[in-house]
Amino acid sequence: MLHYYEPQKDFGTPAAQSAEQVSLTVDGVTLEVPAGTSVMRAAALVGVKVPKLCATDALQPFGSCRVCLVEIAGRRGFPASCTTPVEEGMQVQTQTPALAKLRRGVMELYISDHPLDCLTCATNGDCELQDTAGEVGLRNVRYGFDGANHLAASKDSSNPYFTFDPAKCIVCSRCVRACEETQGTFALTIEGRGFDSVVSAGGVDFIDSECVSCGACVDACPTATLTENSIIEQGIPEHTVTTTCAYCGVGCGFRAELRGNTVVRMTPWKDGKANEGHACVKGRFAFGYATHPDRVTTPMIRDSTDQPWRQVDWDEAVSFAAARFRQIQEQHGRNSIGAISSSRCTNEEVYLVQKLVRAGFGNNNIDTCARVCHSPTGYGLKTTLGESAGTQTFASVEQADVIIVMGANPTEAHPVFGSRLKKRLRQGARLIVIDPRKIELVDAPHIQADYHLPVNPGANVAVLNAMAHVIVSENLHDEAFIAQRCEASAFEDWRAFISDVSNSPEALAAASGVDAAELRAAARLYATAATGAIYYGLGVTEHSQGSTAVMAIANLAMLTGNLGREGVGVNPLRGQNNVQGACDMGSFPHELPGYRHLSDVTTRADFEQAWQVELDPEPGLRIPNMFDAAVDGDFRGLYIQGEDVAQSDPNTQHVEAALAALDCLVVQDIFLNETAKFAHVFLPGASFLEKDGTFTNAERRISRVRKVMPPMSGKADWEATQAFAQALGCSMDYAHPSQIMDEIASLTPTFSGVSYALLDEQGSVQWPCNDSAATGTSTMHVDSFVRGEGYFALTEYVPTEERANRRFPLLLTTGRILSQYNVGAQTRRTDNSTWHAEDVLEIHAHDAQERGLKDGDWAGIQSRVGSTVLRTRISDRVKPGVVYTTFHHPVSGANVVTTDNSDWATNCPEYKVTAVQASKVTEPSAWQSRQREFDHRQRQFLQQATVND
């Protein structure tokens, strides 16, 4: 799928959504298009390009540039083709002498105030202004270049990723409109009138403005006014490869645009169904980590972690690891080793790791990082609806009338979906935010949540139960849907439970922290919506009742009939790019690919026959079980692919003790991450740009990841796992990841129709994809639930054991920020650190004042398991009694403070609730001092390995 570079096709105006067809002729060619289509788009559909500047099909028509004029039979004048809708029988001429003269005249005016530096311009050869000048036959500018102009306007280079050069601006407003319509931030405007009109980021530099660096303005700019710095420095691309973003669970399609093997730009793919041409600051700009000098590209081994690394070839590395693992099993038993896979890796890679464990290690000690994020989604949705997945497409939100966003912060953590959501809200959809923090959606430009329910950390189930109580007690539930679609006896049991006065908003107000009247009003709003959709994130799952909350959400959706059609549903927003895929691929210790329990004899037999081994029918260890067993000495060998548990998992000191206790830790990663500092074998990983495979996003969409450049270590990750397996004597002999997908499809009913050929043909598909749904399934549970009848689970509110008291009076909750991603291994190695160079403690002014803390002060944060030190930021986003931080920087030690309290059903850690005390301090915590020393020593070991080579 390598293509010579050319800009993505632009039809000038967006597609019209109408069933009615209109017939017209354009330059003598007759065609039919949907009513509402612009003349410009109709022309483009038959291959006629009307010259244009202010129009692009990503934005609504604006009609300002006056270049796209056409002649229409029977009409006076020269209408703009972008703003003129087609009419039945219309006869359009796009090329006439009169039009040519008019267009040249307009272009003369533009070019009279534009630098004539095309040969040295960064976008030479990739500039719509240049193209249009050529198309209209501009040969001279009669006005000269000595008049008043903007050519001396100074550049704004404040943003690390793009430069704003107003001297080249034609004030077409595409950037301003992109910021409004596509991104929804409203950071840009046109200041001044007439000749003085200029694009402005609110009167300040871009970096100091409200700009979120999504790059939509850069994409929209038809000139070199807004240009990526990578293009300025390296030139325009010469070929492209279509692939999928490796950041969040939105899974945006991208065109990697390259010169040779160097990526010079990532452009959001207009045909990518998850993002439809939009991107965020991470996906579009933060790709430089892939070639960062910190990359470790040679395998390394050492006997113990107090020794320098020794660089070796691949064969020696995997042989060393395999010998150690077999030795451990001989001495300590078959179950003394295991593996952890990562949602950052492809479906094919995580499938191979679980196969290695089950078929090679001979046990089921395989777990994945979804353990610590969305494992409750898997449990909760499987129990209630029958499938461990979200129910909709992202585009479904465009049909939603009332939207609940709970425990999620889409504009920071899922920004491209956040923009889509904001667009729907600007169209008038109603919004309920349930979150301890006042997230951006509560009050954003042109958006105001109807209700913000500031739930106390740990009380989600109380709020959800109270909402259900209101709906049932006020007879707002959808009786017909429930009677037709749900298990009657379970519903009756649940109705009796939820109707109890103990579940009323008033009874639960003290626990939930939510005003009962507000909650009642919010519940009524959701229940009476024609289409009500729920979107939730880790603020729901990462609790001691994470699974209960997911089931309570599913109950609400079933109760109101909001499942099985467009605009509704239960939609988990997945944290990392391939959380859904990693779970689908059998990465949990109790189930095989396709969410089938190991005890299922038929399924196990299928895998046994395919793999030619006998499988252990019993569940293996979960990640926290592995750590406990390691500390006890029962678990001795661990293979970790692409996951940094020493930074991401809770109770860091316990995790470190477990890692330090292992006889052999094998880490496969692109950097020497925090976990790798405890390793005996380092297998260099490949970034998403260096391998083929697939990712599955939060809407079950399987998209191709395509190799853009050769793997820096010589092996893609699946090849490294295969080499390790072969060294262990486990049969694996794939020549390409497509063969792995073929095996997955042959063994997994929901994937049976998936192949690379189908993905290439369709662009992407949403599973289930099989004989019943040859091109995938956009909406789940349409006529019936996957489990047959929907199940109303009893969702009793059980307060967390992690409670504030006099010693630990504040509740700490953790989260993410727009510019950084998860543990920050990637984004910290890019200019994204411009916006978030360190994690800080957000604290309400009242709590800060009580403790003598001022903005910028060092705050010591102490929990029951550990302490760390962060800078203070006074914030009104948190209410009194609640503090907040992120965990993007290792030195912050956010997880030194979080406890190993976890979800009752899945052991997903309760990251969102930690009782702490904060106080003013003057020096780092003891753990931070130790971490700094340890980190320094391990970096020296790495440098010595390099020097000794």
Binding site: S599, D628, N907
Partner: protein
């Protein structure tokens, strides 16, 4: 396995039983807790908890005690 790990298993089992509604229906909660442990815990973890219950099971919740009194 260590006493610390046993303590953790006890805590986890109690938490499971509580969330299966042991305060509403002890018998049902015990049955569901047993099914949950069978489905998600390793045999070694189950065995360790069973041994602990057989040795008196101090700190086990009523539903977990009920589970092991039946088996």
């Amino acid at each position: 396995m260590s006493a610390q790990q046993t303590e953790r298993l006890v805590r986890m089992a109690n938490q499971i039983a509580l969330n299966f509604g042991e305060e509403r229906d002890l018998t049902l909660a015990a049955r569901r807790t047993g099914e949950h442990l069978q489905k998600f815990w390793t045999p070694a973890m189950r065995e360790q908890l069973a041994d602990y219950a057989a040795a008196g099971g101090e700190g086990l919740s009523p539903a977990v005690r009920e589970l092991y009194s039946r088996s």
